[in-house]
C-alpha cells in the first residue's frame, strides 16, 4: 500500500498523470490554433469554426429581458434574485435543525458566519460587533455569492431573445450602488443613534468660529483673530469630512463595479483569445477576486461603522 502511494503523484498514478498532461496540452494547442491569437501567428490551419469564440462586446448598462408590470427586470436583477433565493434557501435548510453538535453542512455554515462574526467583534468590539454583524455578513454573502454565481459555467449562455437571461449582479453599477447606499445609511444611522446630535458636530463644526467671533466682539482681538482662523479650519475640515462620507459611496460603487466588470470582460477575452485553454486560470483568479471584493466591501462598511460610533468618543477622551 505504502509502496503504491509513493509511486503516485497529485493523487494519480504516473500513467494517468501523463495522460492528463497530454490531453491538457492537446486542448491548449487546439485552443491556441483555433483562437485569433494562434491564427494571427501560425495562420489558419482549417479547424472547424465552432471551436472559436466570438469576440466579446461588453456593454455596461444591463439589458432588460422582460418587465414585471411596469418594472423593468434586468438580467442583473434576476441574477441578484437567484443569489438571494439561494442564500435564503440554504440558510433556511441548515438553520431549520441546528444542533449543538454540528453536521458537515452546519459546520460549514457556522464556519463562514462565525468567521465574519469574529471579524466584526475584532474590529468593532463585543457590543457593536454583535449589532453590526447582520449587515456586514449580508453584504459579504451577497457580494461574494453574486460574484461566484456568475462564474458558474453556462451562466451567461442562456439567451432570451437577443439578450442573456442572466448576468452577474455586481457587473451592473446599480447593484454596487445599492449596496453602497445601504452601507452609507447603515453607518450614518449608527453614528446618529449612538452619538446623537454630537455625531453631526464632526461635519458642521462652527463652535470654534463663533467663539472667536465672540472674542473679537469683546475686544480680545489677537486671540479672536487666531480663533477665527482655527474656526475656519475646523469648518473646512467638517466640510471635507462630509464630502468624504459621500465619496465613500462612489468609491464603494466603482471599486466593486470595476473589479467585477473587468473580471467578466477578462473571462470573455481569455475565452476569445485562446479558447478552452486558459479560461480556468482566469476562473480561479475571479473566484479569489470575488471573495476579496466581498471582504473589502463588508470590511470597509464595518470599519466605517465602528469609526462612526466611536470617533467622537475617542476625541473627547
Amino acid at each position: 500500500m505504502a509502496e503504491q502511494k509513493r509511486r503516485g503523484c497529485l493523487g494519480c498514478s504516473f500513467p494517468v498523470l501523463v495522460a492528463v498532461f497530454i490531453v491538457a496540452l492537446a486542448v491548449f494547442a487546439v485552443g491556441f490554433l483555433a483562437g485569433p491569437l494562434g491564427k494571427s501567428i501560425v495562420g489558419d490551419v482549417g479547424l472547424p469554426s465552432w471551436l472559436s469564440v466570438p469576440a466579446p462586446e461588453p456593454h455596461l448598462p444591463a439589458p432588460v429581458p422582460f418587465h414585471i408590470y411596469r418594472l423593468p427586470v434586468t438580467n442583473t436583477i434576476l441574477a441578484g434574485w437567484i443569489t438571494v433565493i439561494f442564500l435564503i434557501l440554504i440558510s433556511w435548510l441548515i438553520s431549520r435543525r441546528l444542533k449543538l453538535v454540528p453536521g458537515r453542512l452546519q459546520a460549514a455554515f457556522e464556519f463562514i458566519l462565525g468567521w465574519i462574526y469574529d471579524f466584526c467583534r475584532n474590529v468593532a468590539g463585543e457590543e457593536y460587533g454583535r449589532k453590526f454583524f447582520p449587515v456586514v455578513c449580508t453584504i459579504f454573502l451577497f457580494v461574494a455569492f453574486n460574484a461566484w454565481l456568475s462564474l458558474i459555467p453556462g451562466f451567461g449562455a442562456i439567451m432570451l431573445g437577443h439578450h442573456e437571461l442572466l448576468r452577474g449582479a455586481n457587473t451592473d453599477i446599480n447593484t454596487p450602488l445599492a449596496i453602497a447606499l445601504v452601507s452609507f445609511v447603515f453607518v450614518e444611522y449608527y453614528g446618529l443613534k449612538t452619538l446623537g446630535i454630537k455625531y453631526l458636530r464632526k461635519f458642521i463644526n462652527v463652535s470654534g468660529f463663533f467663539r472667536a467671533v465672540g472674542d473679537v466682539v469683546r475686544g480680545n482681538i489677537k486671540k479672536g483673530l487666531l480663533g477665527l482662523f482655527s474656526g475656519f479650519v475646523d469648518f473646512f475640515v467638517g466640510l471635507l469630512e462630509t464630502l468624504s462620507e459621500f465619496i465613500r459611496i462612489v468609491s464603494f460603487t466603482f471599486r466593486l463595479f470595476g473589479n467585477m466588470t473587468a473580471g467578466e470582460i477578462l473571462v470573455m477575452v481569455a475565452a476569445f483569445l485562446i479558447p478552452m485553454a486558459i479560461g480556468w486560470a482566469v476562473y480561479g483568479l475571479e473566484l479569489f477576486i470575488g471573495f476579496i471584493q466581498a471582504l473589502v466591501f463588508s470590511g470597509l462598511t464595518l470599519a466605517f461603522a465602528s469609526m462612526a460610533v466611536s470617533s467622537q468618543h475617542g476625541e473627547e477622551h
Binding site: L60, P61, A62, L71, P72, V73, T74, T76, I77, G80, W81, V84, L87, I88, S91, W92, I94, S95, L98, L100, F109, E110, L113, G114, Y117, R130, F133, P134, V135, C137, T138, L141, F142, A169, D172, I173, N174, T175, L177, A178, I179, L181, V182
Partner: protein
C-alpha cells in the same frame, strides 16, 4: 448626461436592488443570524455551565476528600483512645483480680490457722484428759485401792493446771 447613462445607472433597477438587498438582510436575519446567534449563545452557555459544573465537582471532591481525611484522623484518634482505655481497664482488672486473690489467699490462710489452732487446742485437751485418766489409773494401781474418782480428778486437774502454768512461766 450621456456619460452617466452610459454606465447604466437607472432608478428602477437601483431601487429594486436596494429592496432586494434589504429583503435578503431581513430574511437572513430570521433564517440565519438569529438561529446562529442563539446557537452560539447556547453553546457558550453550555460550555460555561459545564466548566462551572466541573469546577463545582472539583471543589466538592476536594471538600469530600478533606472530610474523609479529617474523619479518618478522628477515627484513628478515637481508636487509639479506645485501645488505651481498654489497656487501662485490663490493667485495672488485673490489679483488682490480684488483690482479690491475695485477699482470698489471706482469708484461707487465716482460716486454716484458726482451724489448726482449734485442732491443736482440742488435741491438747484430749491429751490432757487421757493423761489424767492414765494418771488416776496408775495411782489406783499404786495404792491398790479405789479412790473417789471425781475428787481425785479434780485434784489432778488442779496439779496439771499448776504444772502448765509453771511450764508457761518458764
Amino acid at each position: 448626461m450621456g456619460g452617466i447613462a452610459e454606465l447604466g445607472i437607472s432608478v428602477p433597477t437601483l431601487v429594486t436592488q436596494v429592496v432586494t438587498f434589504i429583503i435578503l438582510l431581513v430574511v437572513l436575519r430570521f433564517v440565519a443570524y438569529k438561529p446562529f446567534m442563539r446557537l452560539l449563545d447556547e453553546r457558550s452557555r453550555r460550555v460555561r455551565e459545564s466548566l462551572e459544573q466541573a469546577e463545582a465537582v472539583k471543589a466538592e471532591s476536594a471538600r469530600a476528600e478533606e472530610e474523609i481525611r479529617k474523619r479518618l484522623e478522628q477515627t484513628g484518634r478515637e481508636e487509639q483512645e479506645r485501645i488505651a482505655r481498654a489497656a487501662q481497664a485490663a490493667e485495672e482488672i488485673r490489679r483488682s483480680a490480684q488483690a482479690e486473690a491475695r485477699r482470698e489467699a489471706d482469708a484461707i490462710i487465716s482460716r486454716a490457722r484458726v482451724e489448726i489452732q482449734r485442732e491443736r487446742d482440742e488435741a491438747i485437751a484430749e491429751l490432757r484428759r487421757q493423761f489424767a485418766d492414765l494418771t488416776i489409773l496408775a495411782a489406783e494401781k499404786v495404792i491398790e485401792r479405789s479412790l473417789d474418782r471425781e475428787t481425785h480428778r479434780e485434784l489432778i486437774e488442779k496439779v496439771l493446771e499448776e504444772s502448765t502454768a509453771s511450764g508457761k512461766q518458764e
